[in-house]
Amino acid sequence: MNFTRPITRRESIKKLAVISGGVALSGAAQLPLPTLAESNRFIVEGIGQTEGYAVKDLTRKVFEEAGGIKQFISKGDVVVVKPNISWARQPQFAATTHPEVLETVIELCRDAGAKKVRIVDHTIHDARRCFAISGAGKIAKKTGADLVYPRESLMRGMNIRGDRLDVWPVFVPTIEADKLINLPVAKHHSLTTLTLGMKNWIGSVGGSRWSLHQDIHQTIVDLAQFFKPTVTMIDAIRIMTRNGPSGGSASDVAVKNTLILSDDPVAADAKAALIFNRKPNSLGFIRLAQKHGLGTYDFEKLNQKKVTV
């Protein structure tokens, strides 16, 4: 296995920006990366209020409210969408990302002129069964998106440069992209209380993932600072309130008809935590992520928008 980290397109662009912008702070990597001013960031909450509303309409509206998909996706981009389709469960059990949300996001990327859209998840259950049962397979066929079969040969040791993780096998197709869209489903989790956007990145690494749980909040933050999505959209159309993250019973599911879209991964998670009646700062990984400068859980500071269907 090769332990050197290949330079991704994203990185080379960033490097170029650093050089041309003259950010010459030595040891910048150790400091929180200078991010966009918080007021420039946005968070959109979309709620489906009318009976029988279409999830697809809601998804589209939410992106429109955020300024349209073209804000994020440019013509010719290779876009990676990272849903949570880790469990071989049917969509109604809220263990996986809502298929219609996934489908709409791919369609939007296509509309914006994306060259290629790829669905990527290193599943927990057998990938073939996950793809078939979660609906992701059918969507891939319908939209023409690539669906990557996760396998050992696509895991590559890379330097995560985290506090806890250094070299760890990364599911390569996730990072070989121009744009990365995080598309998790909001669920209960026994260790982290909730699994939202940032925890979704555990589905983009390989190796002995089971040992990440020994310092879960720090490892989530380590991964979140490595995978920086263009936007995060949290699916809370229906959420899993207990027996997470696998669920499997209709009684574990609550219908919330909500979508959250943000370019601040911490704010997105914070907003989603409120749906479960949890204070954002009561969750370890959210607190820690803010401390590491990945974003803010005080989403009041962001450009807040709301849209209903």
Binding site: A88, D126, G137, H189
Partner: protein, 540 residues
């Protein structure tokens, strides 16, 4: 029809059925692109199923059909195919062996491509031998065994033998080798070789799988396969002549055949070419008595004879074909063995005393006594299992259950909504169940217990909830309790301790698979509590 045409017809038929067999064998898996054509996402009661008739050759097989009938009193699904083959053999002799059987084709091919014997030695090897009675002995042994309730047929049945060998040893073995080459290419600094290795994966993975497959005892399965192939150097189609119990069954039923070898003694010049090319050592030479039961109907003698002294003809005469040369000794020893084995097989106490805790059967498996009447040990369930959890046993099921399926949870786990193994079992030793039945009954295959000494939170080492997180039942069979433990430095540490609720646990083993303590996990699955056994229950 001319002899030459008949031989070509045979070759085409052999090639076709051999390729069909291999195709169906490779298709005995969830295809990688199943997601493109199939989705159960929006229909609640559909289960993932294979759309190829992967059990076709088992349905054709009269030995599997007969032994299931005698042993498990089950008329196999698709028994009309079996009936068709029996009728075919009664009318035309062992055409199944000559035209259809993929294992026979393989032996034929191996004997023909590089014959170890030539000239006089080959003629000598193709003369009828007393050892050809061995197959009748084996057939009688297996059938008597089966009638008494121990179905060992699959160990020697040619279709099961070939399927098991190719699916569990040949393909995974080649897979290891091919992957080794690709890994080597992928590590290379030469870009073209890198690309080559990625490209090749597209063609290789659909057959060999994306991951390394592992099957316990596969080395022995593969070794036996090599030995059986090697025997062709001693005599052409050694297996078909001397060992094959299915050949024996078809030989016995071929007595009434109307397709007969006519010999014209006056034309014969004793050139011996017929004997030299005979596949079954069936005495084709004029002057000898043609052995109907040994003839594999390959038409070689008919084709090769330069003097037209031999001819296959449809003759409807009251005179029956020659009786299969079984011999009293084969019958007697077959009977003795057939009665002894089922009794000896019970002496390990697996059925009457207590069964091995490691013997976790696939979901839907019949209770042990019935299971052993039907399981062919063909390896279809093992090939098809998406997590590679189903493995052939060595001693876990006793010698009576050698090579029957068993779940090894450190290698994989039984996926909660998957019922693929039962859907392909050719004899019904594993029942066809739906995911709904599996969950709602529930079908328990065992139960999990914690080993607190190795468990990370229980031993005060570090927090961990991996077993509970993966537990698929709702509500979860593994639950957590918050507790303060002392860590190795003596400091207080808040952890969540896992417990198993035996009422809810179904024994799927995903907790064992995913436990961070590898090799011998801190949570283990044993067969106790399996719903297929009335005796093996833990709770009232």
């Amino acid at each position: 029809m001319k002899a030459r045409h008949l031989v070509w017809l045979r070759r085409i038929s052999q090639t076709f059925f051999f390729l069909l067999f291999m195709f169906l064998l490779i298709e005995s898996r969830l295809p990688q692109d199943i997601y493109l054509d199939y989705s159960t996402a929006f229909s609640t009661d559909a289960d993932l199923r294979l759309d190829r008739p992967v059990t076709f050759f088992f349905k054709l097989n009269p030995l599997v059909g007969l032994s299931s009938l005698l042993s498990g009193h089950v008329l196999m699904e698709g028994f009309l195919w079996t009936l068709a083959i029996i009728i075919l053999s009664v009318l035309l002799g062992r055409v199944f062996c000559g035209f259809i059987c993929p294992f026979g084709t393989l032996h034929h091919f191996v004997s023909w491509i590089r014959p170890a014997l030539k000239g006089k030695r080959l003629i000598e090897a193709n003369e009828k031998k007393p050892s050809q009675k061995v197959k009748y002995f084996l057939f009688i042994l297996l059938i008597v065994c089966a009638s008494i309730g121990l179905n060992l047929t699959g160990l020697l049945d040619p279709i099961s033998f070939l399927f098991r060998s190719v699916a569990l040893a040949v393909i995974p073995g080649l897979g290891v080798g091919i992957r080794f080459v690709f890994d080597f290419l992928a590590q290379s600094d030469i870009k073209i070789l890198n690309l080559l290795s990625y490209g090749a994966e597209v063609f290789v993975s659909p057959v060999f799988g994306y991951d390394f497959q592992a099957f316990q005892t596969a080395w022995f399965i593969g070794l036996l396969f090599l030995v059986v192939l090697f025997l062709n150097r001693i005599r052409p189609r050694f297996w078909c002549r001397i060992l094959c119990p299915l050949g024996a069954l078809l030989g016995i039923s071929s007595r009434f055949t109307v397709l007969k070898l006519e010999k014209y003694d006056d034309k014969c010049t004793q050139c011996m070419k017929c004997t030299q090319n005979c596949q079954g050592a069936a005495c084709p030479r004029p002057g000898q008595d043609w052995e109907t039961a040994e003839c594999l109907v390959c038409f070689n003698c008919f084709n090769i004879c330069p003097e037209d002294a031999l001819s296959f003809k449809f003759i409807r005469s009251p005179k029956l074909g020659k009786r299969a040369n079984i011999g009293r000794r084969a019958v007697l020893t077959g009977l003795v063995g057939g009665i002894s084995f089922p009794l000896l097989g019970k002496l390990d106490g697996q059925i009457h005393k207590v069964s091995d805790p490691r013997l976790i059967r696939p979901p839907g498996a019949l209770n042990e006594a019935e299971f052993l009447t039907l399981c062919q040990r063909c390896g279809l369930c093992m090939k098809v299992c998406p997590t590679n959890v189903i493995n052939p046993t060595l001693s876990e099921a006793g010698m009576a259950g050698f090579w029957t399926p068993r779940l090894i949870m450190t290698q994989g786990y039984c996926e909660y909504t998957c019922t693929l193994c039962g859907s392909v079992c050719p004899t019904g030793a594993i029942k066809k169940i739906t995911a709904k039945e599996k969950i709602e009954t529930p079908v328990k295959i065992g139960s999990a217990y914690l080993d607190r000494g190795r468990c990370l939170p229980w031993s005060g080492n570090t927090p961990c909830i991996v077993c509970q997180e993966h537990c698929p039942t709702s509500p979860k069979a593994i639950y957590l309790r918050k507790e303060v433990m002392l860590n190795p430095d003596g400091k207080k540490m808040e952890v969540q301790l896992p417990f198993v609720d035996l009422k809810k646990c179904i024994g799927c083993g995903i907790c064992e698979t995913k436990c961070p303590v590898r090799g011998k996990p801190a949570i283990l699955t044993i067969a106790a509590g399996e719903s297929r056994s009335l005796k093996n229950q833990i709770l009232l």
